[in-house]
Amino acid sequence: MNKVGIVGYGNTSFTKDDDKIESILHKSANQLFKKNPEIDKKQIDAVLVSTNNNSKYLSPILSEMVGIQPKIAHSIESLCNSGTNSIVSAFSYISSGLADMVLVSGAERFDSPGQILEWDNSRGEFKHPIFWASIFSKSYKQKFNVSEEDLAIVSVKNHKQAQKNPNALSKKTYSVEDVINSKKLTEDLRLLDCSRPCSGGASIVLASEEISKKITDTPIWISGIGQKTTSAGFTKNESLFSMNSSKQASASALKMANKNISQIDVAEIHDAFSVCEPMALESMGFTNQGEGMSLVKNLHETNNFKINSRGGLIGCGHPLGATGISQTIEIVQQLQQSAEGRQVDKPEIGLVHNMSAAATSSTVLVLEK
């Protein structure tokens, strides 16, 4: 399989702004080309757009706006893991030889239709994600004797880390008491336990090994990819306190990269809700089952930014189609040691975990210098 590198990126701030989806897409792609003049856009063979927005023909529109006439142009939608799935598609085009260089742009508006999966009627009238998150939280707390104060630390940590990220939606730090006393959405979920929908964009350029080495001295290689979809419906999840799709996706990605989880120096974890962070850490093997919160607490108390250095979805905001790309950009910055105030100490290997619809589908990437 041909090697595939990440050679450039651009992203917008995550906001509540009422911008058109085309404008959000254009902004991050424009920033990418402005910051990386060594990328010759005439060499871009494919433009992939990651979004849940209902607007039509976004990839050809973006191509025209940035002045590219690609061979391949289309959108990719897979709810919250659209971003990493688009990166996997770009990887596949390049590693198969169908393309040498691909632009992947993700964008979403704060009012994205991707927040609700209408098809999943097994959820009855409880289709909003806060309901599956409440069931996961209740089940996880009960199974592992975890309190809501414990879970609140995820939000405290990730809002704290987001303050070092100029693009994050969160501009405030919170205490455990602030989280517990924030609006009670359900018996098991407070407002500050949730990532917030927002507007935002993120773009990345992937290239073949030969082109990557010509463009930059510091390409970041995608060495492992794992994907698993167990169902579309939330009620098909066999376990309500672990993430089976994440477990399988990370095992595949690590196997492909010939690495084990203890070698991961920095990771972006899909913390759509507080409970998702310990569940994902345990399911992927960062720690034993039931010990995810101990790991999170330790990282928080030692001010270690290893997990969700950009602030996670809770601190950054969650513009669905852009999230997986933004997570990937964060790991690229970490490995290139350009993450400034968020920088983890000399990381060599990073991991991205991006999932959809109550962990019914997960995508995991392993990135290396």
Binding site: S122, G124, F126, K127, K138, T186, E187
Partner: protein, 102 residues
């Protein structure tokens, strides 16, 4: 019989394959094992509460039926994990299925 037509009338019927008898949930026209058509099985089905939480004064539960499939339903009184329940009211409201259990 169509699942949604029955649900609209307040009847909860379970879709199963006419050939291999597998229960197909969420409801679909065809079996995902043998690809034959599905039909509706009627009756008074009991389910078991797997998990629950509460919003305002309303409890919402995940309920498992026939050791086979699960759905989200609401219940008035505080539920217990493992509690055996049955659907007392169901239908389609604003495009969403709803299920009330007791």
């Amino acid at each position: 019989m169509n699942f949604e037509e029955e649900l609209t009338k307040g009847n909860f019927a379970i879709p199963e394959c006419v050939s291999c008898k597998k229960i197909i949930w969420p409801p679909a026209e065809f079996c995902n094992v043998c690809y034959n058509e599905t039909c509706l099985k009627t009756g008074q089905f009991t389910g078991k509460i797997i998990e629950y939480s509460k919003q305002n004064e309303e409890y919402f539960c995940m309920v498992e039926f026939l050791d086979s499939f699960r759905l989200m339903a609401k219940i008035n009184d505080k539920p217990q994990i493992g509690q055996i329940v049955k659907i007392t009211k169901c239908g389609i409201l604003n495009g969403n299925y709803f299920f009330q259990i007791i």
